[in-house]
Symmetry: C2
Subunit: 256 residues, 2 copies
């Protein structure tokens, strides 16, 4: 039986999603909790990695329940939560078809990025928002964000991970970028069919530079869809992990 | 020169307001930050204590700037924040009259208490709300909370602190108890001219018992204004520190 987990985590004190020798990652904690329940090692597969310090409201992972273990999917939620630190919570568990794959079946994702414009960053938002006490121009911010919408080559907004093979394509479609004013700042929301490594942080970093008057909209927009054969101009402004939340992963209709 | 500080803190990992030998209290951190700035020990006076795990959005304290130290009150804010952990922030600093006293001049306080009714407590609210996955009846809750409004003898809702002299009076006036539905639960708000030790947590604990059908409104209301000379019935339900926030302290008009 294959199960799909919906997971939320406060990344402030975590070393990211992916398992690593030092532990303290979401994958390590959840695999340990499953192993303690199933009495054997079980590998989980996430929809994608999140970096150290990044948060999730609806990360998705799947795993296969070992043969012979009969347990209602619903009961996995408390079974795992009692073994997890309070910074990681399994929100839901449901059975999915045997060919469901948290990463390969994903049709899209939504990320949110929170900017705090408070004079002093609230202690409740420390590590959970990017603190920008200097004002930014929301009209320019909106104009910049709109440029990211649509189907583009985002290679300039993708960081390289040392240990990974190159992407086969840097073309992604961002269906919507939202900008919402909240009580203490601005909330950016990016929905798309996929995101390169650090893409949301690089787009946000560049957009903030523009909204603070240090870069022109055209300079950043010019990094999209660059002509092949010429040296690639790269976005060099990366927003901190603090404000980034993986909100949800879209699988369309899941058939059981 | 006497300065008034407005302070916010996320109490999750703190041992409360009041200085103690083990440290890790808000008072200890702020006194250390002032001492590092003033190059001498300085005592601060808070509007009142908060217990370990309790939070503040607008705690107030005052201190006297040592003679010879000339620094614009406004500059104390960044000077202290750079020396404080991110869980404690000085939001404002202003000069006040020499007879202003954070505790004695206070005319009232507002506390908020957050109840989470989420099936699974969000990791972002761990330690910052009381998780009550079992439903509660908001009508009964509202009826119970209304009983606390007005001028009453709250002795049954005051815990005793071992090392303290008895209160001279247990009569307090609660001017307003608010109940607000929020996205993930209920927010209680108590405004009054003063609160006994643990009074908000005891009132909240009893109100939740009533809203969950385990106590009658009359049983709890009967603990108010008990006749003298008879053995005192005490409220024995104390809500956890997690959901309690000191929102603000009211000084009326402060004259400089």
């Amino acid at each position: 039986m294959r199960l799909k987990l919906t997971i939320a985590y406060d990344g402030v004190a975590l070393a990211g999603w992916q398992s690593q020798p030092g532990g303290n990652t979401v994958q390590d904690f959840i695999e340990s909790a499953i192993a303690a329940t199933a009495k054997q090692a079980v590998r989980i597969h996430g929809s994608g990695r999140t970096d150290a310090g990044v948060h999730a409201l609806g990360q998705i992972a799947h795993f296969d329940v070992p043969e012979g273990l009969t347990m209602n999917p619903f009961n996995w939620v408390p079974a795992l939560n009692t073994k997890l630190p309070a910074s990681i919570r399994v929100l839901a568990c449901e059975e999915v078809a045997a060919d469901f794959h948290a990463r390969h079946s994903a049709q899209g994702k939504t990320y949110r990025y929170d900017l705090s414009l408070e004079p002093v960053l609230s202690p409740f938002r420390a590590g959970r928002a990017w603190h920008l006490p200097r004002q930014l121009d929301p009209f320019t911010l909106r104009e910049m964000l709109a440029c990211f919408e649509g189907r583009h080559d985002f290679e300039a907004f993708g960081a390289r991970r040392g240990n990974e093979t190159e992407e086969t394509s840097y073309v992604r479609t961002i269906t919507r970028v939202g900008l919402e004013e909240i009580a203490w700042g601005w909330r950016l929301r990016f929905t798309g069919d996929g995101f390169l490594y650090r893409m949301v942080r690089l787009m946000t970093g560049a957009a903030v530079q523009v909204a603070q008057g240090r870069l022109a909209v055209a300079e950043v927009a010019g990094l999209l869809d660059q002509a092949p054969g010429l040296p690639l101009g790269r976005c060099s402004h990366c927003a901190p992990a603090d404000g980034l939340f993986l909100e949800s992963v879209d699988y369309g209709r899941i058939t059981r």
